[in-house]
Structure formats: C-alpha cells, structure tokens
Amino acid sequence: MSDWLGPEEWWALGLSLKVAFWATLLSLPFALLVSHALARWQFPGKQLLNALVHLPLFLPPVVTGYLLLITFGRRAPIGAWLEQTFGLVLAFRWTGAVLAAAIMGFPLMVRAIRMAIEAVDPNLEETAATLGASRFWVFATVTLPLVLPGLIAGAVLGFAKAMGEFGATITFVSNIPGQTQTLPSAIYGFLQVPDGETDALKLVAVSIAVAMAALIASELLARRAAKRVSGR
C-alpha cells in the first residue's frame, strides 16, 4: 500500500493535510467574526465586506494567487513589512500555502456560518443578557454553541476546499517538492508528463477520498450537534 504512492506523493499528501488543517483552524475565528458581523451588525461598508469575502469564489484562482504574490511576496510592501517586523515569511513557504488555502476557503466557511447565525433565535441572546451576560459572554455561551452545526459544516467545506486548492497556491508559493508541493500541485506535475495521467488519477482518487471522508464526517458531526442544539 505504501508504495502505491511514491515518497514525494506521500509527502505532498502530508503537506496538504497540514496546510488544510492550519488553514481551517486559523481562519475559523475570522470566519466566525465576519459571519457574525454580516449576519447581525449594521455598519457602513457591510456590502463591501460581503463582496470582499466572496471575491476568491468568483475570481480565477490564478488571479487570487497573483494578487497574493504582489501583496505578500518578499519584495511586496506587506510581505516585506511582515518579514522585517515579525520575521514572518509567507511566500514560497508552506505558511503561504496556508494563507492561500485559507483565503480560497473563506467564502465557503462564511456562507455556512452566516446562515447558521441567522438561524439563531435572537430572543435567546436577549434572554442571556437579562441573566447578566455581557455581549461577549452572550456570544460565547449562547450564540457559539447554537451555531456549532453550521460551524462544523463551514469548517469541513473550508478544509476540503483547502485540500483541493491549486491555482492560487501554485501561483503564490510555487510548487517546490518537499517544501510547497501540495497534492494538487503534484497532480498538476503528473499532468505535465505525457502518460502521467494514471499517476494523476491515483492522486485524484486520494484527494477525493479525503474530501469525502471529511464531508461524511461533517454530516455526522453536524447532525449530532444539531441534535444537541435542538434540546432533545
């Protein structure tokens, strides 16, 4: 079994899992914040924020990658600043792949979570306030637990998207074996070699399997969470 894939491909699979994991984990809090803002707050520029969040869904990924490169590249203003100030390099590192994957999955997460937040009964939040909970505590003890099924759905969508992200990633962090070569980049590599289709399809099968596993796990988790939340 282990020689069904070459070592480089195993490595790419590992990297993709790692990237998808961190991309999901790190973007969740932001997705939660943005979803809450879009669902519940009134502020100027709300439509703009909504549009911005959706952008990566609508732009060709290569363009997103290009925009990331000219923003977070080591010679680009923000990229250089991050490197000087925090020593944080994103471009051409797996950390950059995390950023690219996070941004590409963000709109999917936000849509799922936002719908879940919109479904929470504001009366329950009000009730929590009458019991002494401040805004923060209302969110942490009432909104968040009730949103859990949507959060899980959103996280899994983000994770699966991150596993499959190719265009933005290769454009931003390139495709360096052992450093930034993710599963989709490896698939791309095989498609560059005549007769590489068989190997490519093997990797496609692997990524389908991972995405499916995540999807089914999420349906189960979300159903369980929904049951909990339904109060039965």
Partner: protein
C-alpha cells in the same frame, strides 16, 4: 419603594405613558391585549428604550432620559421570565439553572440551587434537556433560572399564558411560595383575572398605554367600575380571611370581617391568613335570611352602590364587615328586591363556587 417607573414612549398610534410604583410583593400589570404591558416590562428590563422617562429600582437609577443614563440589560440584574420560557436548548436543565450564577456579582445573595429546585419541584429534572420537558416543567425551570441569577427583582410576562389549566395549577403555588418566602419584588404581567386575584398584592391596570387604575388588589377588585375592565364573568371581590377550623366532612371554615365562610378543604393551618375571591355572578342577594338552601355561605351586609351596565344586569356593591362584596344580578331582580344604597340584605354564596384556585395566601 422598590421599583418606580415613569416612562413615555410611542408605537405608531399608541402612546405609552405610564407612571407607577411597585412596592415589594407581587405587582400585577393587568390589561387587554395591546395595552402596553409587555412594553412596560421590557422598558424595565432594558430591552426597550423609552423615548423619555425615568426608571429606578431600590433607589438605583436604571434609566433616566434627562441624565442620559441607560444601564445595559446585563447590568440591571432583573430576572426576566418570558411567556415562552426560552430555555437554552443546548444546555441541560442544570446548565440552564446555573447559567446566571457566573454573572451574579460576588457576594450577591439569593437562594441556593437546592432551595430553588426544592421550591419548584424540579430536582428530578436536572439532567434532562429542555426538549424533554413538559410546558409546565419548562416554565418552572425558567423561573428557577431567573431566581438563581440573584436578581434584585423578578419580571414575569404572562408566565402561565401558554399552559393549560392543569399546568397552571401546578405552578401557581410555587409563585405564591416565592412571593411569601423570598421577599423578592415581582412585576407580573397577566390578563388572567383569576391569576392576578390570587397572586398580586398590588395591581396596575393599563388601558391604551395609560394607567387606568392602581392600588392594592382588594381595593381594585371591590371597585364596581372595574367590572368592565375585568369582564362580566370574571368580576368579583377579593376578601381577606382567617382560617378558623377544618371540619371532618372536608370543609374548611374561614372567618371574614362580615361573617364566616365554608370552603372545600384548603391546606392551611388554623389561624393562617388567606384571601378568597368571590365572583360577582356567584352571589345571589336576598332581603330575608334565606332558609332551606343548599348554599352554606350567607353574609349579611349593606348596599353601598348600584351600578348599571350596558345589558340587563347591574353590579351591586355591599359592605360586609370592613370588606366589600360585589354581586351581579338582573335589573329586574334589583327592582323586585327594592335594592338601594343603605338597604340591608344577605348575600348567598355557594361554597363550591369559591373554588380552590381562587384562594391565595396573603
């Protein structure tokens, strides 16, 4: 003075303009649907910001439009019990009960979890989820949750309206115990006359956003002018009574200032004070002392007022001892008996018509 409310607000057509004081005990906000009860209680809770006015609780200002004060909901510490219980579905009964504890100020005092679960009879439910509770159980948990947040005051908006009468009978005694044992002031919204008669020490009657009448429950109920407010079938007086004796045939004897009453056994010891409600339509009047009737309760009194309604009926107010009694009879009978203020007569009350749930402790 535990709560003082003086607010102005308007919703489209309706101008809410309310000014009242709620002493300790249960203060009932009573009025027709749409008269502004929920709006007032929401303003007290901080869920509605009135256009103008001032709300103070135990001398702390909660809201003052002139001074620009508007204490946020979570700092008001007023336990709110909603009509629809609003339990947190993701928490167990215990989790719901303990919810407010972490936010209560350190050193704030109030009943313990044991006391509350004991009081409300929900100790066996602690591990259940809200979805597995009946309507009455849910509402008791909601009351417990509000109590355990150690509020300065309880706000209850028709806490029993959604329940059928069996469930209501289950919860009313708890509310009485609450009133009597915790000393917590309660602002209670209801349009059930029976509930208010039984529970409230003070009544504030709202009509179209204004206070139509306010006073002790006994005062408000013995005012013939209130008959219209309460509805013909619900009007009646509330008398203070002392338990005298329990008889072996299942009847309890009570003394009121105008005489004595027999009721189906009530679970209070002799010498306990209580209140009985006597519906105006359950009272028959007679000039002579009636004999040979199946009715056991006959009080003697003097007519103080006769007020004609719209229909063929009149409301007769009698003074019996120091209490007032209302009777609703036909104009024809009033004429036949030649009733007029100052006339002495007898009120015949069927013992069973003073039903158990119209009796409350004081």
């Amino acid at each position: 003075m535990s709560l003082s409310v003086d607010i102005n607000h308007s919703f489209g057509d309706l101008a809410v303009q309310v000014n009242f004081q709620a002493p300790s005990g249960i203060t009932a906000l009573f009025g027709k649907s749409g008269s502004g009860k929920t709006s007032v209680i929401n303003a007290v809770a901080g869920l509605l910001k009135p256009k103008a006015g001032r709300i103070t609780s135990q001398s702390e200002v909660l809201f003052d439009s002139r001074a620009g004060i508007n204490v946020p909901v979570h700092r008001r510490r007023l336990g709110y019990v909603f009509q629809d219980s609003r339990l947190f579905p993701h928490l167990s009964v215990l989790g719901n009960l303990n919810y407010g504890k972490r936010f209560a100020p350190k050193g704030s005092s109030g009943p313990s979890l044991e006391e509350v679960t004991e009081l409300l009879g929900i100790a066996h439910l602690l591990n259940r989820r809200p979805g597995a509770l009946s309507g009455g159980e849910k509402q008791r948990v909601a009351i417990g949750r509000a109590l355990l947040s150690h509020p300065r005051m309880l706000l209850m908006d028709e806490p029993l309206a959604a329940l059928d009468s069996a469930r209501k009978d289950e919860i009313l005694p708890f509310l009485e115990r609450l009133r009597d044992s915790t000393g917590l002031p309660i602002l209670y919204v209801s349009h059930s006359v029976a509930e208010v008669a039984r529970l409230a020490t003070t009544m504030v009657v709202l009509e179209h956003g204004k206070v139509a009448q306010a006073g002790t429950t006994e005062q408000v109920f013995s005012d013939p002018a209130m008959v219209r407010q309460l509805g013909l079938r619900e009007a009646g007086s509330v008398l203070s009574a002392d338990v005298t004796q329990h008889h072996s045939d299942g009847l309890t004897e009570l003394s009121v200032t105008g005489g004595r009453l027999f009721l189906p056994q009530i679970s209070l010891p002799p010498r306990a004070k209580t209140r009985v409600r006597i519906l105006a339509q359950d009272v028959i009047l007679s000039r002579d002392i009636p004999v040979g009737l199946s009715a056991l309760n006959i009080l003697s009194g003097t007519v103080t007022e006769i007020r004609a309604g719209g229909g063929p009926g009149v409301v007769v107010q009698l003074r019996c001892g120091s209490d007032f009694l209302l009777a609703r009879i036909t104009q024809r009978s009033a004429n036949a008996l030649r009733l007029a203020p100052g006339v002495a007569c007898h009120a015949v009350i069927k013992s069973v018509s003073v039903a158990r749930h119209d009796v409350g402790h004081t």
